[in-house]
């Protein structure tokens, strides 16, 4: 599995956000992308997901599961229904109910299984989004600001889940200090370019 990015450029009107980003994400390594607000971190994800037009090349081998930053969730859908619908959109999940129950209990969300998403707090909706991504059959996991809204215990659980997951993980986050550098390669998006800040030994 890999994501190979070659000379990717993206401009919004006259403002060039990505100025020729090149990088290769490979194997089941974990990556953390940091950078200031509005620097283009989410834009890079959108380019990887083919959501926006860009210049350059992105080659992907492997199925992607994506968790957006507070993405719009349907108000009247139950959390269980949402997780099931989106995680099984392209491929079926073996033992879905068992796995779903496991993640819901890990994130202390069992009682909210049948609650509608519109009645949930930001943190609870974030947990639902994370569970959906973790359950989706994929080789690559992308998370955009997954820690926002999460309580301390859920953050720890989520981060340990990422570390023990054998898939490639790419996370965009402001909260660099929360991620253990023993497991995460840290990249910084600065001046429209992606640079390596620290590598896992």
């Amino acid at each position: 599995m890999y994501i190979s990015i070659t000379n990717v450029r993206k401009s919004f009107k006259k403002d060039e956000i990505l100025k020729g980003v090149s990088f290769e994400f490979k194997d089941s390594k974990k990556y953390l992308i940091v950078g200031e607000n509005g620097i283009g971190k989410s834009t890079l994800f959108k380019a990887i997901l083919n959501q926006i037009k860009y210049e350059g090349y992105i080659e992907i081998e492997g199925r992607i599961s994506y968790s957006p930053d507070g993405g719009a969730l349907p108000h009247f859908m139950s959390s269980y229904n949402f997780i099931k619908t989106f995680s099984t959109l392209s491929d079926d999940v073996v033992d879905f109910d068992k796995k779903c129950d496991y993640y819901l209990s890990e994130f202390n969300m069992q009682k909210k299984k049948n609650s509608i998403l519109g009645s949930m707090s930001k943190g609870e909706r974030q947990k639902v989004n994370i569970i959906k991504s973790l359950l989706t059959p994929s080789e690559i996991l992308l998370f955009d600001e997954p820690l926002s809204g999460l309580d301390e215990l859920s953050r720890k659980k989520f981060l340990s889940m990422l570390v023990s997951d054998d898939r490639m993980v790419i996370v965009v986050s402001h909260e660099k200090e929360e991620f253990d550098k023993r497991y995460f390669n840290v990249l910084v998006l600065k001046d429209g370019l992606l640079e390596v800040l620290s590598k896992v030994r």
């Binding site: 959108k46 997901l49 083919n50 037009k53 994506y66 719009a72 349907p74 009247f76 619908t85 392209s90």
Partner: protein, 245 residues
């Protein structure tokens, strides 16, 4: 995976997104308004003795009024839902669907299918109100079929939905969609001038079609409306393809 099951899952999810809290409130308000309008214009609140004396007049009054109201409210409703559903911010949920070019196509195709299913269901509700009053109030004219006008009204809905989404994609502002409704309304109001041989007015009436009287037949015939839907489908597809290339 079974293709039908796959597409149904997409449609179901689109419909859930369509039923946002704001849209649900608007749907309820629209339906209540139409029900009240049907009740008032049906003359059910008048004495049945009066009704006995001039059933034909009351029947014509009811059908003419209800269809006149529907021609405006149904299109206004469609424009409103289109604005929220094709709005760029609202449509950010596409991130959850799209993973490659195949899922992107599926996303857009099923989005349009979902919205047309939704408009059809809404029309059935408005039609139910209409028939309900026909059953309750003894006009004695139940043999007249109103299926065709309702089908035509649905086609107008599809036409204006496609036109409004085209404008929204091209100009990227909800005002463009409101502009479509204003032009429809103008076309609807000035249709009495259609005897004039003014070419511009004819083109205007063609681009912004309206239903004549209770039959709702378009000024240039039903075929012109179907042709318009076909052309708008092509234009919308072209714009989406070019936007995503």
């Amino acid at each position: 995976m079974d293709y039908l099951k796959y597409y149904l899952k997409y449609v179901k999810t689109h419909l859930f997104y369509l039923l946002s809290l704001r849209n649900v409130v608007v749907i309820i308000l629209i339906n209540i308004t139409c029900l009240i309008y049907a009740i008032i214009s049906s003359s059910i609140l008048n004495s049945f003795h009066l009704l006995d004396a001039s059933r034909n007049e009351y029947f014509t009054y009811y059908t003419t009024n209800y269809f006149f109201f529907l021609k405006i409210i149904y299109i206004a409703f469609i424009i409103f839902i289109n604005i929220s559903f094709f709005n760029k911010d609202y449509a950010s949920y596409s991130e959850l669907f799209i993973k490659n070019s195949k899922t992107k196509e599926d996303f857009y195709i099923t989005k349009y299918i979902s919205i047309f299913i939704f408009y059809f269901i809404e029309l059935l509700i408005l039609e139910a109100f209409f028939y309900m009053m026909l059953i309750i109030v003894p006009y004695g004219k139940m043999y007249i079929s109103f299926i065709k006008p309702f089908i035509r009204l649905y086609l107008y809905g599809v036409y204006y939905s496609l036109l409004s989404s085209l404008f929204l994609t091209l100009f990227n502002t909800y005002l463009s969609s409101i502009f479509v409704f204003i032009l429809y309304f103008i076309s609807f109001i000035i249709n009495s001038d259609y005897q004039d041989n003014k070419v511009l007015l004819k083109i205007f009436n063609y681009v912004f079609p309206f239903g004549i009287d209770n039959t709702l037949v378009p000024f240039y015939g039903s075929i012109s409306l179907i042709l318009g839907i076909f052309l708008l489908t092509l234009l919308n597809s072209l714009v989406i393809i070019l936007n995503n290339k």
